[in-house]
């Protein structure tokens, strides 16, 4: 079933709300957030710290359930899917890049990149992962464990892991948050370059407006609502 309004959208959210209960008190993080994303398009979600950006991202990617509203991801309404069904939906179609990299510490750079390929049953995961790591400039670091890599290198591995499955949609949560300015710029350049080459749609959560400006559209999260649209 496709979203009734936007036939070509690969992601759309309608009136998303999220409340959490903390010590018996209800805390509203999102009130009514709506957005639409078409194939190959990039949007930025900006907002102050604690405004609920990461929560919104987790709802859009189907990592968490909203208290109200609906998300259509790759044509599927997420509210009708179980957590496992949502996981299967993400597999080999959705990529992630996180602020704290989230590499598996017990796997080498190469093995980390091979992981999503292995999960999707790729015939030659090692060759593909190797090629991807070379693309992000880490051809010499294949056998290194994350703890032996710098922050910038770890984020490159994370980018390689996200793009190696040629995802239709990439979620990036503050990808430069843990990096110094110069390294952060390199990572962002690489992210947009891969994005353009692969034609991936992108949801970028950031508090950096300059970075957000590189996207096709910017949404601002204010008081639990999304404001703004395509330029």
């Amino acid at each position: 079933m496709l979203h009734p309004l936007e036939e070509t959208s690969i992601l759309s959210a309608c009136e998303l709300a999220k409340q959490v209960h903390l010590n018996g008190e209800a805390l509203t993080i999102l009130k009514s957030a709506s957005l639409t994303l078409t194939d190959g398009e990039s949007v930025a979600i900006v907002g102050a710290s604690g405004s609920g950006k990461s929560t919104l991202l987790s709802l859009l990617a189907g990592l968490d359930r909203p208290s109200g509203g609906e998300v259509w991801l790759l044509g599927e309404p997420l509210s009708t899917l179980s957590e496992d069904a949502r996981a299967r939906l993400r597999r080999d179609r959705v990529g992630f890049v996180f602020q704290n990299f989230q590499l598996m510490p017990q796997l080498t750079a190469l093995e980390n990149v091979m992981l999503p390929l292995e999960l999707s049953g790729h015939p030659k995961p090692e060759a593909a992962a190797r090629a991807m790591l070379e693309r992000v400039g880490l051809g010499q670091r294949l056998r290194h464990y994350p703890k032996h890599l710098s922050g910038g290198e770890q984020q490159r591995v994370a980018l390689a892991r996200a793009f190696v499955i040629r995802p239709r949609l990439l979620f990036a949560d503050e990808p430069t948050g843990n990096l110094d300015a110069a390294t952060g710029r390199q990572i962002i350049d690489l992210l947009f370059q891969l994005n353009a080459e692969e034609g991936t749609a992108l949801v970028l959560v950031t508090h950096d407006t300059e970075l957000a400006g590189r996207c096709d559209a910017i949404y601002r999260l204010v008081d639990g609502r999304l404001v703004g649209a395509r330029p």
Binding site: D84, P116, K147
Partner: protein, 828 residues
Amino acid sequence: MSAWHRLMWSLRMARRELVAGELTVLALALFVAVTAMTSVAFFSDRIERALTRQATQLLAADLVLNADAPWPEAFRAGAVARGLELAESASFPSMVMAGDAATLATLKAVSERYPLRGALTVQAGGAEKSAGAPAPGTAWLDARLMAKLGVKQGDAVEVGQRRLTVAGQIVREPDATLDLYSFVPRLLLNHADLASTGLVQEGSRIRWRLMVAGEAAAVADYRREASARLPRGARVENVEEARPEVRTALERARRFLGLTAMLTVALSAAAVALAVRRYLARHWQSVAVLRCLGLTSREVGALFTGLFALLALAAGALGTVAGFGAQALLLTLAAGWLGADALPAPGPLPWAMGPLSALLLLGGLALPPLSTVRRIPAVAVLRVELPARRVGWLTPLAAVFVLLTLTAYLVGETVAALWILAALAGFLAAVGLVALAAVLLLRRLPLAGRVGWRYGVANLARRPALAMIQVVALSVGLMALLTLTVVRADLIGAWRASVPADAPNKFVINIQPEQRDTVADLFALDGRRAPELAPMVRARLVAINGRPVRPAAYRDERARRLAEREFNLSWRDSLPEGNRVTAGRFWAGQGAKPQFSVEEGLAGTLGIRMGDTLSFDIAGSVYKARVTSLREVPWDSFRVNFFVLAPPDWFSRQPASYITSFRLPADEEAFASRMVERLPNLTVIDVGVILDEVRGVVERLAQAVEAMFVLALAAGVLVLWAALTATRDERLFDVALLRALGASRRQLKSVLLAELACLGGLAGLLAGLGAMALGSVAALQLFKLPFFANPWLPLLGLALGTVVVALAGWPLLRKVARTAPMTVLRRE
């Protein structure tokens, strides 16, 4: 994912995890547990076979039938028909003469193929050699008989109407102990000469023995058939009664091995549990990432289940092979006595058991926490979701219980297993409570002093549950180390001392009441301390609680024989040295009213209970009284001991003889000869050979047991390691936070040291107390050794704990100093 795809992926992930060192502790703990279990299984299996073999050597055959009349031809034919080897012997007391000298000896006529098992060693022509039956017309004499008759090789002796030439001296006769009067001088002659002695007559007290040997199944078959058709007055020889001392030593050895194996399994289980907990805690984030990348919860479960199953199978297989190797080593240590090289290979059971027990252990311990891991949501990548702490504890407990029971069964010690389980459970509960109380107390103390100490102690007190787990885990590891080093040395020392170096090697029997002073004088003249003389009367048990004792009514063969034979009763006014009262009270002093004290084992066999009234017939008079105490008797002490004791001044007017035992160094043999010269009716029995053999058995088995302890020690070290690495992860974060807040390296060091020292000291103290308790329980309950408690243990534990834990924390400190705090904080 297809099942095949999933399996291959699990395999790859397992390899990666192993390479990254994530599974090291877990794999090692499993390996050690399986090695311990299988080596004991293999060893037990083979030692049982060795025991049987040893037993057959004492019989000089696989099976011996004993009768008071010559055996009917049908019994010989039955053995021959089954392809069994056959030999015969006939033994009886008779006078042997040489010139003017004559003495009573036990004569034994043996047929051509004697002995079928074991070896008869004789000295002939100045050299020792293995021999069979003496040639017709000749005889082997033992040293005592040659000395008494004053004959040497080549001389003639007269036996009944037959003259025999002395062909050599008996050095060792495998089945000598089967004869009731084995301590009387002995003479071996050829079975073919028996008739010509003219001593085989109606009424002569000859024991006719039919000996068979051969394939185990055929022997068992023959035994069944023969037992069913035994003539009156015939029986199957039972070897266990022949050597109670060796039996005691072996049983202790098995208990030591059992205790060690169970301790190893329990410790390994603790290490596995800790390692699994840490492993899954460390993989919390990784699982969230996997969920994010599209893995379903079932696939997550399958991944870790597959990974653990592979690990269990691999560690199980390697452990089994190592267990076989360890067992081979144990056997080498015990080999001189057991004759291990000729033993048949162990059965298939231990081979299958290794991998299975690894699966059971890991399955039981890992599946419950795994079920919580399966439920980790993908959103945990974005925010720290607290792990669900409630993990089922029934499954792990059940798994460990099953495993310990299995080990106990393997070593044949189910009761011991229950004791160990109870002791461990009690220790865990007690340590947990004390640790919690101590930590809560720390929290309430007004903290003064330097920054390091203050923060260190506060760190510990801040998370009482975690501190409790750490103290418990550390003290289990430390207790294992203490038990296995200090307590083990004490226990084995006590075991070795149970056959003391000054154990008596001579028994003197047949001392008449009026000769007591002469015997005392003989000792005094020689500058020796006179040993205690114990009175002894022959008595027959005629009734229990007024009901006549009928041997035939006992189903147990041993009980039947005990009921049949005459007892040696003794009287005395105090509990004999080394005996322990297990029920009731032993009388004290002169003038106690008539009553009996019975040896525990005998009471069990004959069904005698405390308070029963026993009637003994002594030379025609019946003596009746109640059983007021049961005693445990240290048969391996080689002192004079009695099954049944009574107070003095009751049947002391009955004809009694006296018996005593003492130690005589080998080079002072002359004293025994002087004693017999002066009082020719005395018989001096030399038990030196048996004593040496028992001591040798204890010595070798102790070595084998010590080798086994090394495994348990490894398990203890693993627990310690697992506990320390688990606490390390927690500490790393704390320290990084302090560092980020501007603490100097010096301050950090003191915070960490204070915390670790506190933790280690507390754990060590508790471990010391635990080891002391465990050692005492083991000594009393399992090994029936005298109670002892090493008072240094708690202090030693305190010191060991503080030092070990502080030292183990040292690399952590260096690591923290080198790592940027942000890296650590970010990763959490």
